[in-house]
Subunit: 271 residues, 2 copies
């Protein structure tokens, strides 16, 4: 606890650090949308060293769903470039633990699962570009309703890397046409957090037959007549690729329950 | 003719100059799409001095349909910043002449109509951003078919300026969804030639009931199932505002028959 207090002093009123502490100490459950506004939240995939280089190549070949924000040291649960105190074993409100491509546990603490050969891959998340959309007065339904964004497994194939392959997971936001155009402009500035949409309108073209039936815990979007569906690549895509690659062991975040970092969303804008 | 030869020598193989000469000498009729590739073509509105400041304000308030590329000197048929030899009386393949807001003539030479009180407003044209789209391998149906792009009078109201007001004319290109996203990115770089689209999908939202019935001579787009309609503000908008303002006299280009300038399309990109 002495160490915790020292960290608290060190970080002053850094809201990202405070959010991590809250989650670490069990004070927050469920999705992290809206926590530490303005700070980058990340998807997470943690691979054994045997699979790390293959997975890293998968991310590099598929930068829209899998934009890498950092790469962990082998065996280290820390990512100092994303937060001095950050501990990957305790700082997420939800993890999925996989064995041979099958989920064997959902938990809020992976300390007991940690191993010396694990390599962490934090990946950019749409919360960052949603922050920019909301600052530009573009309404987002799932934000207004405090729901998890609608996600789908599209038929857009990722580029395979070794054993990792599979279809791209996409998130969808219903937008009025003029807002959709503005959203393309805004998110194009943020290639490290999925960038521009991958599809717009016509869900059936990317293999989505029922837009009101999302997967991964997302709420039905309840599309309105004056809205069109806008689709972005999603950082849950590795979880589909993991089901294909079947590594003997790995860990991911639980969709919606992100790693909160000290990076600022606005700093990710390329122009 | 001595002067003409001198001008030819001066310009060397400037394709824009050659295209103007061809039109000036009656060697080209009809729309100018595809002429002098890479060079900026412009919409044109020519107002009597009494209406010029009001019209200029109209353009400044409505920069998406009416992006001003230059402003002529009172009474001058020349625009030296757009081409040293350029002559607004002869260099377009089609003009509309208006009296009191009604078209009284369509001609390819307005020498006999020219007056000492006329002020020319060349306005950016979608041909410039189409050049950028085609260079990026985005197929444009009307280009492939050598047709005039589909144009419509939308229900999007312009901001009024004095006597000038009216709805925005839009041009529409049917695009595959991924191309539509890319087209938003590309055209956003070109604010001086209409910039980003004003609408996407859902034509009925902007007052277009039958997408296969364009106006202003555009060909029916023949939408396909895997395409969405993408709408840009169009430089024909002033012609609708002229019908409202009813200036005693004015001249515009004939839709599709543009002023070819020495500016290069690529130089208009802001990033």
């Amino acid at each position: 606890m002495a160490q915790l207090a020292a960290t608290e002093t060190l970080h002053g009123d850094n809201p990202a650090h405070e959010a991590r502490l809250l989650i670490r100490n069990g004070g927050h459950k469920g999705h992290t949308a809206g926590m530490a506004p303005g700070y980058v939240q990340a998807n997470l995939a943690i691979m054994p060293k045997d699979y790390a280089q293959e997975f890293q190549t998968f991310c590099q070949l598929n930068p829209k769903p899998c934009p890498m924000l950092a790469i962990g040291e082998v065996g280290s649960p820390h990512l100092p470039t994303l937060g001095a105190d950050l501990d990957l074993r305790t700082d997420l409100s939800g993890y999925r633990v996989f064995e041979n491509g099958k989920e064997i546990a959902v938990t809020d603490d992976v300390t007991d699962y940690w191993r010396d050969d694990l390599v962490a891959f934090p990946l950019g998340c749409s919360y960052s570009f949603e922050d920019a959309l909301i600052r530009d007065d573009i309404p987002l339904r799932h934000f207004e309703r405090n729901e998890c964004v609608a996600m789908y497994v599209s038929n857009l194939e990722t580029k395979p890397a070794g054993r990792f392959h599979g279809n791209t997971v996409v998130s969808m936001r219903p937008l009025k046409p003029a807002d959709a155009i503005r959203a393309v402009q805004i998110t194009s500035r943020f290639p490290n957090v999925h960038g521009a949409p991958v599809h717009i309108g016509l869900p059936e073209m990317i293999g989505i037959d029922d837009i009101e039936q999302p997967v991964f815990g997302g709420a039905p979007p309840r599309m309105k007549d004056d809205e069109i569906p806008v689709f972005w690549a999603c950082g849950v895509t590795p979880q589909v690729a993991i089901e294909q690659a079947k590594p003997p062991f790995c860990i991911t975040h639980q969709p919606g329950c992100m790693l909160i970092t000290d990076l600022k969303n606005s700093h990710l804008s390329i122009i």
